[in-house]
Symmetry: C2
Subunit: 260 residues, 2 copies
């Protein structure tokens, strides 16, 4: 099957112009079909502050009231998305930015969880693989903003890690998908204080061992559990590494590669 | 040739939820291929006010400094564009929103005019008709935000009337294009105070006569001159009328139709 890269970047790249430029240069030069999923970074929080709209986080997730939804729609689907696209265009990478509403690409529903009102936060129901395939077949590199919709005229703020994972899983029936998570560290570390302790290949058995012996940093466990779930659902590889080393990651020379 | 509708709406529709809903309902039900170009409305001005960014207009055009470019990118390509798309999706119209940077759809250059610095304002150089055709062939209704790019990593604020006209002209080699301008009046009026005095068909000769006898409201003349230019460059029809009467306009029962 043909290769497809689904690459997710978050705040540590988006908020740092030098890192973002380094990353986009490398993203632009990937020859295979490719999808970039971006998170939000600090810009939405700063805009909310300037506008006097208080922001509330629960377990690292932003509570999205109606005013905050406006802000994230503007910042994520507008400012960040279009600036990334314009940058890629200037590097001869024919990119197009979409949200989950565009082409009905990602359908979600408003998160309902007993006791917590996340507001207009979306949990993904369905990735429109036909649409993604059609757009990729137009020769476009896709840049996905973490705003989805419910099909009933409601936009929903949606976790970018989840979007990347759901796209990767859904596209696995048609492509050999490599899912790359950009991270502030060069990979999964055996010793959290030593950037040279990157685990190059992390297989399910070894991971189990490391978890049992508590050698994995607790904060990494949900990410890694998700990565193994993606692998078990058809994604060929999940790689975690520094976005600005994307070329090295793709060449198999950097990052942690997670496999069955 | 196949029909294509290029329809432009501005602030009088965008800023009025009831009119916008009425318009989108009618837009969604058009069976032909279709492109909606939207302007900005008052939201960008209001956001600039809240953020304390002074806005300057010259001849009805916004002077786009760097901070204002951020705002219009957020509001036009983010908030307005994605809300229109989500609304159309809820009406089973498979819409996708783009700016001129997406898919390199509209290339422009920074306006240079002796004596006036418009800032980051774009004048259109080229419409990527192949991209528009490919996306329309995916079954998508396109929603175009008035933000373009110069191919060198610069987004540019661009007049929505001009964008609609340039798309209509460029697509005329492949489609029978009807270009519809939504307007606060039901069409071109013989008597500016009488909404029942709509000129139903305005041909070049009659227009010349009306201009010479000063029977056309001066403010309409640039719009109409542009409409006749579009017609002379291949657009099949230009129709001016109320957006909320779009069904009547398309049925030929409302608005002013401009033809050679």
């Amino acid at each position: 099957m043909e290769s497809l890269y689904v690459i997710k970047i978050g705040g540590n790249i988006i908020d740092d112009e030098l890192l973002l430029t380094a990353f986009l240069k490398k993203f632009a030069s990937i020859k295979s079909k490719k999808i970039l999923v971006h998170g939000g970074g600090k810009l939405a929080t700063r805009l909310a502050e300037k506008l006097g709209i208080p922001q509330q986080m629960i377990d690292g997730r932003r509570i999205t009231d109606a005013e905050t939804l406006k802000i994230v729609t503007m910042v994520y689907a507008g400012y960040i998305n279009k600036n990334i696209v314009a940058h890629l265009q200037s590097r001869q990478c024919n990119a197009a930015g979409i949200s989950g509403a565009d082409g009905n690409s990602i359908l979600s529903h408003k998160r309902e969880k007993a006791g917590i009102d996340y507001g207009y936060a979306g949990d993904v129901d369905q990735v429109n693989t036909d649409l993604f395939k059609q757009l990729l077949d137009c020769g476009l590199a896709l840049v996905v903003a973490p705003i989805t919709h419910d099909g009933k005229n409601q936009l929903l703020n949606t976790n970018a890690d989840t979007i990347a994972q759901e796209i990767a899983k859904a596209m696995s029936s048609s492509f050999d998908v490599s899912l790359v998570y950009s991270f502030e560290k060069p990979g999964v570390l055996l010793n959290v204080d030593d950037e040279n302790s990157v685990i190059r290949i992390l297989q399910a058995l070894y991971y189990k061992e490391l978890k049992e012996s508590k050698k994995i940093f607790a904060g990494m466990i949900p990410k890694l559990d998700n990565a193994f779930t993606a692998i078990s659902q058809g994604v060929k590889k999940v790689i975690i590494g520094k976005g600005e080393e994307l070329d090295q990651i793709i060449a198999g020379k950097a990052g942690t590669t997670i496999s069955q």
